[in-house]
């Protein structure tokens, strides 16, 4: 456990994996520092899940190498398995069994004696707010509860590295926030978390570093701040009470933000990109300043909002193509599961 908090948790070089004629991974490189949350961001079919499956010893790469805490995922798979766990995109517990039975079973498989496995299961169920549901079959759990029991199962062995494959896809906002809190607690305890997501704000909320993945390779990498500044971290939307004030508003915004201001089709609306390279203010500060300047100029604002750039905007900026997977590619990857 010497490098539990130092060095690299994951080191992947030139990973290639094809399914039929589809190259799911096409020379993927990855460096995940230990003790952090690392986000892999990309649309469906980008190769995120394939990458996770290779790193979690479920798939062999056609080419390239990957190490987890220095152990090769192909030749030292057992050493890798002893230090990590995976919460997949699909239910990864036996749905016919109860939550408690699943956890006791996994505890036994990790080598705990029966009483110890039971104790551990109870503690986990309590910590994840599932004590009441302990005796219920997992197939009767709600989406949020299912995610929680999945993650509970994954930290049963207090792994040094936890893979979370799209942990919040399909969850309601409250369940999503719960998962985020859990991820924060897990990483605070020294576990490295590698999560995949389609949502920029999720990666932004949780990850120390992000790799943007497209067509099986990493097309951009850095801290959320670095990535956003390359795209502009947001868009300010303004709606005025009076369409007559729009030309004046445009002038004020342009001076305050020093960026081009777009006039929307709606005669009372304006938008502006903020947080672009070359300005030294955060998007929020820029937006606040813009709002202040509008008020000072006596312009009546009905609605004002600052939105993050969407994954689509990030993708457009990075690749010149929108973040939409072709159906064909999606199908090929789905079939290969």
């Amino acid at each position: 456990m010497s490098n539990r908090n130092t060095g690299l948790a994951v080191e992947a070089d030139g990973l290639v994996r094809s399914f039929g004629s589809t190259r799911a991974l096409d020379g993927l490189d990855l460096r995940v520092p230990a003790g952090t949350v690392y986000g892999m961001l990309g649309p469906n079919g980008a190769g995120k899940t394939t990458a996770v499956r290779v790193l979690a010893t479920l798939l062999r790469p056609d080419a390239g190498t990957a190490r987890v805490f220095g152990h090769d995922v192909v030749t030292e798979a057992d050493a890798v398995r002893a230090r990590m766990s995976l919460t997949g995109q699909y239910a990864s517990l036996d749905e016919d069994l109860t939550g408690a039975e699943n956890l006791v079973l996994l505890g036994r498989l990790l080598g705990l004696a029966r009483p110890a496995a039971r104790e551990r299961a109870e503690a986990l169920l309590a910590a994840f707010g599932l004590t009441e549901a302990a005796g219920r079959q997992v197939k009767k759990y709600s989406g949020g509860m299912r995610r929680r029991i999945d993650i509970a199962a994954s930290i049963l062995n207090t792994p040094d590295l936890l893979f979370l494959d799209e942990p919040t896809t399909g969850l309601d906002p409250r369940s999503r926030n719960q998962v985020w809190e859990i991820v924060r607690a897990v990483v605070a305890h020294g576990t490295t978390v590698l999560l995949t997501t389609q949502y920029l704000d999720e990666a932004d909320q949780l990850a120390g570093r992000i790799a943007v993945v497209d067509h099986g390779r990493v097309i951009a990498e850095g801290t959320p701040g670095e990535l956003k500044s390359s795209v502009g971290s947001g868009t300010v939307h303004v709606r005025l009470r009076d369409a007559g004030q729009r030309p004046r508003a445009e002038q004020v915004l342009r001076t305050a933000l020093q960026v081009p201001v777009q006039l929307a089709a709606d005669p009372v609306a304006l938008t502006a990109r903020v947080g672009e390279d070359g300005t030294d203010l955060e998007a929020g500060e820029q937006a606040a300043r813009a709002l202040g300047e509008l008020a000072r100029a006596g312009i009546v604002v009905d609605d004002f909002s600052l939105g993050q750039p969407s994954l689509d905007e990030v993708f457009l900026a990075l690749t010149d193509h929108p973040a939409v997977a072709t159906d064909e590619r999606d199908d090929a990857l789905e079939a290969a599961r």
């Binding site: 766990s85 910590a127 399909g170």
Partner: protein, 285 residues
């Protein structure tokens, strides 16, 4: 926010607020226990199969109702024609129909495995640092319980209908024991197909294609003496024939050393060949 979250919760979830302290206690890295032994891991997976039976008892339908139907159907269908009476036929036929029913049930090993893969629970199992074949061995252990149950059900129906084995309790137990040994070995054929084939349906299809000729083209229903030569040649090497002859002998209170030896050789062969193919496939996906 630009992302859209869809709500999938059917019922109102109890409000859960993750507590950092509670999570901290379960995250504290305790002592890592020693890796379980191969046997212990396999038995744990076997226990999973038992729990599944507890929660989904309907799955026992195929090891109870199906064998009963088989016994009744064929005893009365063929009994009068092939022997003096159904009761007389039963003395010959019961060990054979027991073998047929149990060997047919082995295909559910492949179906169950295929189902596990579909559902994703297999991913977690395959990332556990345990003896690699444990999950499959355990699964077959669970199936062995089902084989024993089916055999006992058939025996009970037979006894009610008038089957009187000369070998007594010991002979019957020995016969069931041989049947279980073969079925355990033969199940490895289905773990392989369960891993290779895409869907539950195709696993079923292949199973039927293999099982029907294997069980019917044997000495289960009639003595092979009246069959054409080419068919006799197949029946003679069919492992089910060796199995039925061995079980019949055991239940009649004797032993058929030649057939039993062939039976054990076939069983070892199935484990070695299909066990190896299965594990190769299991590791390589």
């Amino acid at each position: 926010m630009s992302d859209t979250a869809t709500t999938t919760t059917g019922r109102a979830p109890s409000v859960y607020v993750p507590s950092t302290e509670a999570l901290a206690t379960v995250l504290a890295p305790g002592e890592r226990p020693a890796r379980p032994s191969a046997l212990s891991a396999s038995l744990t997976f076997g226990w999973r199969a038992v729990l599944k039976i507890k929660h989904v008892p309907e799955q026992l339908f195929d090891v109870t109702a199906f064998p009963i139907i088989m016994v009744l159907m064929f005893t009365y269908l063929f009994g009068g024609a092939l022997a003096d009476s159904p009761r007389a036929y039963l003395q010959f036929f019961l060990p054979g129909i027991m073998v047929t029913s149990v060997v047919m049930i082995t295909m559910y090993t492949g179906v169950g495995l295929n189902n596990d893969i579909e559902k994703g629970v297999f991913d977690r199992i395959r990332t556990l640092p345990v003896w690699r074949p444990a999950a499959l061995v355990g699964m077959i252990f669970g199936d062995v319980l089902r084989y024993i149950l089916a055999a006992v059900v058939i025996l009970a129906v037979g006894l009610v209908l008038g089957f009187r084995p000369d070998g007594g309790l010991l002979g019957v137990l020995a016969g069931i024991g041989l049947l279980v040994v073969f079925s355990f070995a033969f199940s490895w054929v289905w773990t392989f197909f369960g891993l290779v084939l895409r869907s539950e349906k195709s696993v079923m299809g292949v199973s039927m294609m293999v099982l029907f000729p294997l069980t019917f083209l044997s000495n289960v229903f009639v003595e092979p003496a009246t069959m054409p030569g080419w068919l006799q040649a197949f029946v003679k090497v069919n492992p089910v024939t060796h199995l039925v002859a061995s079980v019949r002998a055991a239940m009649a209170g004797s032993t058929d050393a030649t057939n039993t030896m062939w039976l054990l050789l076939w069983s070892a062969g199935f484990v070695v060949v299909f066990g190896t193919l299965t594990m190769r496939r299991y590791n390589r996906r």
